[in-house]
Point group: C2
């Protein structure tokens, strides 16, 4: 695991690492924010952040404005890339498929099957690697994400509730089986059989697995240019049906981007810090 | 003046405009953050932020994490680009000259003289344009900047103290006449005659014009990879000599980038808000 960037920030460090991923069959990058306590070796709770389409391990670190409060709360932030990378990786024909668009699932179809294993990468390989290399408190790990990464956060939380103790999302793709982004990605990565998709669809997972968390926090802008892809009302219906407490906040005038995320990031960090200390 | 981007942010708006600049002889962009009060038409104090080499009107808006506190304080932030742009503009042979490197002065030498008039653009043309188009309180405008933009903030403050009531900087180029970046830029833009340079050198200006502000705030990282270009000790000596109060904070481990700026931006916004309300 090679450290390729390191910047002091709020008495902590923003760091970027490159390492060889067996799951992705290639070099992968992630970044991590270590508050002062973690730099000093003290074990801290951690939150994974899964980014959206076209993003990288840098996006959240630069644009979300999370470090100030993470430093105050003593939270470690783990920021993976959004797909496998490299010369041998299938690229896709557009910005919403292939590179930058891993959808946090394990592909079963050619040509994606070889490298596109973002689910196992995040929830197993990277998960245990950061637990080993950084002072993270076992059992106190949360997950959040944005858009495609909001889908990733919700689905990985419902698939691995023993690994993630808290979950939140910004403008998540709640029902990828029922929107153009998800239908395109799942057809390519998982094949035409729609019943296979449901294991990777937050709304379907919540309906089948039931309530798993004391609360889920979701923020959604009402001026979101991709609102038709996101279906927050289906998430709300699924949560109501199974008795899962959902705090869904819909914000007038806010759009899909990081100016929206930065406006509410503090609430998400406070939410995770509280849930992780329960 | 055409609005080309607009994002809701902390109940205010982050906006980008494109307009024709007579000074720059071409289209120019700037961005502006309007807190909720300003959106509602209430006059607010404003701070200009001048960015460093290679940056644009977007850099501070994305990377400095200033909007949260600007919203709380009711501060407008004005973020110009760092040079003229466009097909007919002389480009320079490297990242520290020409495009992205206007140095906030008016060039007198070919081929720069036609477009490179960033001093007049910022301190006159844009200054009065934003006063006219946005609810900014006259007499309550401050200026800050980073690196090349720290040089810009200090020199424009000392050249136009009637226009800027408060001034601060992050890792400013304090004595451009005495460092490689400044010597290169000034030789190209102003010619070989070094005595001409002194009117655009913060240390020389402070020595000749004396104390003009109740206090100047400067933050400097001690792990700054460009420390040898910056000469904060010459700024300190000049301020001491003329009785100008300078709060120069030197921070161990912090480097030259925006992870450093975001760590201390709140202090600068508080500083300007306090000075502008005096």
């Amino acid at each position: 695991m090679q450290q390729i960037q390191r910047n002091f920030c709020f008495d902590g460090e923003q760091q970027t690492y490159q390492w060889y991923s067996k799951e992705l069959q290639g070099d992968a990058k992630f970044s991590i924010y270590l508050p002062e306590q973690a730099r000093a070796g003290e074990a801290c709770p951690a939150v994974f952040y899964l980014a959206g389409l076209t993003c990288t391990e840098e996006t959240f670190a630069i644009k979300a404005h999370a470090q100030r409060l993470a430093a105050q709360l003593g939270l470690i932030l783990v920021m993976p890339d959004t797909s496998p990378r490299g010369e041998t990786v299938a690229k896709g024909d557009s910005w919403d498929l292939g590179l930058g668009a891993g959808f946090y699932i394990n592909a079963t179809q050619a040509p994606w099957v070889e490298h596109y294993r973002m689910e196992s990468y995040i929830a197993d390989e990277l998960y245990y690697a950061v637990l080993e290399h950084f002072p993270i408190q076992k059992g106190r790990i949360g997950i959040m994400g944005h858009s495609m990464g909001g889908h990733g956060a919700l689905t990985l939380a419902w698939k691995y509730p023993e690994k993630f103790k808290s979950v939140s999302a910004f403008a998540p793709i709640c029902a990828p089986s029922q929107c153009p982004w998800g239908e395109k990605a799942f057809t390519h990565y998982l094949g035409e059989a729609r019943e296979e998709w449901l294991a990777h669809d937050a709304v379907a997972l919540i309906q089948s697995k039931g309530a798993l968390f004391s609360e889920v926090l979701v923020d959604q802008g009402l001026a979101d240019q991709f609102y038709h892809q996101l279906h927050p009302q289906l998430l709300q219906q699924a949560c109501t049906k199974v008795g899962q407490k959902l705090t869904l906040r819909q914000h007038e005038s806010y759009d899909h981007g990081y100016y929206f995320i930065q406006s509410f990031i503090d609430d998400h960090l406070q939410f995770h810090a509280a849930k992780l200390s329960d």
